[in-house]
Amino acid sequence: MTKLPLLQVAALRKSFGGVVATDDVHLDVNKGELHAIIGPNGAGKTTLISQLSGALMPDKGSISLDGVDITSAPAYKRARLGITRSFQITSLVMEMSVLDNVALAVQARKGSSFRFIKPARKIAEIRDEAMTYVRKLGLRKRAHEPTSALSHGEHRQMEIAIALASEAELMLLDEPMAGLGPEESRLLTDFLLELKGSRSILLIEHDMDAVFALADRISVLVYGRIIATGTPDEIRANSDVRHAYLGEE
């Protein structure tokens, strides 16, 4: 590879008490790549994402984005630098409307929010743009309802809409399909396929069909360690992986 990867993770380590959750992880995500991480439950996938997004601080190792070291940058700074994440367990502002939630993501990149006078909901520039993302995820009809009134599936769609609206270079998607029915999963897979190439995505997912259909590369995480990284075909052929993970399914 000649060009620099967008995200570079080297020798990352994190432990809780005596339990090592992330153990010497090396990982990179190239620009425009969809890189999936798979692994059994409790392998430390969410812990890894949390360290990348800044919600958790690693004990050792380094993380850099576009060549800039962000290992110790707080989460909100990383977001400003272009990393966004979706949550495994839906994390939205439930009291606000669907459109408000998405608008907050748009507002975040339109300059300072230390603006006290103009009503936020009357700023067309923000509202219109937010609405395009809402529409894109098929939530147009529910845009003005409080988020708490929406279904689980719709919440997952909102998570994606917000990630898109933030226009982050790197999207960390933590099991976006968790709890979705087969039809909804298929729609979301199609959507991600369409998105592929324009954004870099680090995807954690249990739905193997989706992963193998979407990913450019796959890393397999077992007990906090990455035991293999490669194209879907390589991973499928890897005996370690078959033994440690896939074989057990």
Partner: protein
Amino acid sequence: MLKMNKTGWVTLIGMAALAILPPLLLLNGQAFYMDLATRLVILAIAAVSLNLILGFGGLVSFGHAAFIGLGAYAVGIPAYHSMWGGFDLIASSNGLLHLALAVGVSALFALITGAISLRTKGVYFIMITMAFGQMAFFLFQSLEAYNGDDGLTIDLRSELPFLNLDEPMQLYALSYGSLVLVMLLVRMIVNSRFGVVLQGSKGNAERMVTLGYNPYVYRLTAYVISGAICGYAGFLLGNFTTFISPDMMHWTRSGELMFMVILGGVSTMFGPVLGASIFILLEEVLSSFTTYWHLPFGLMLIGVVLFIRGGLMGLFKGKGE
């Protein structure tokens, strides 16, 4: 073209009543009810300021009375020196100086204590703000020069251009006008881009961080604004009572402010005003019936918490509002 909902009507009628009734009572020789209304309106300002952080920011400050005290002492101390001499730097009866001091000192106190308190969450935040309030309380208790515990009685009020605060009607007009302005100000802030970030941080701070907002600075800013407004209420209260004591800052006073906000309804515009009104009037009415008025008062408090969702304003909310 303006279609008002029930809450809107309640607000309008309530504010109109506050504008009309007290002056009418004063003109009919009922000076005491004017006093009552003035205290009510001033405490309503403090309650509205608390609602900005409590209702819209989710920050339960249990030390807000400290700002009232600071604002009141910002009137009392310069006035005291202008009466009895000493401390030439601030000895003055100039109301604009008092005002600047009240708002400035309160904002500064909010900035310093908020910067520390906002590192904590939940019950810890409730208790650390209480601790800072108690520190202010004990600090003024220890200031012998200003009579410590016994409080400061001043014989003059702030001198303001165009206004004579010794006139109950003018003091009331200023307080009422201030309440209206403060309510509009808080509404403007809450609806602004700043306000939606503040409310988003209340609803889900983790999400806001992911979007690139740092909730800490928004909360701190709101805390400072709220403290400054509450200090302004203290400025008015000092001018109203002309007696300023550390008691104004005691934690039970902070509790009363919280109670007003919650009784009326958090995150509503008129809720804190309604809460303050009910609180003051109830205190007045109940205590005139019995020395043991705290008993029905306490029972009512428990009742409100147990049975009324969203405070009294919740009763006026129609479907889908």
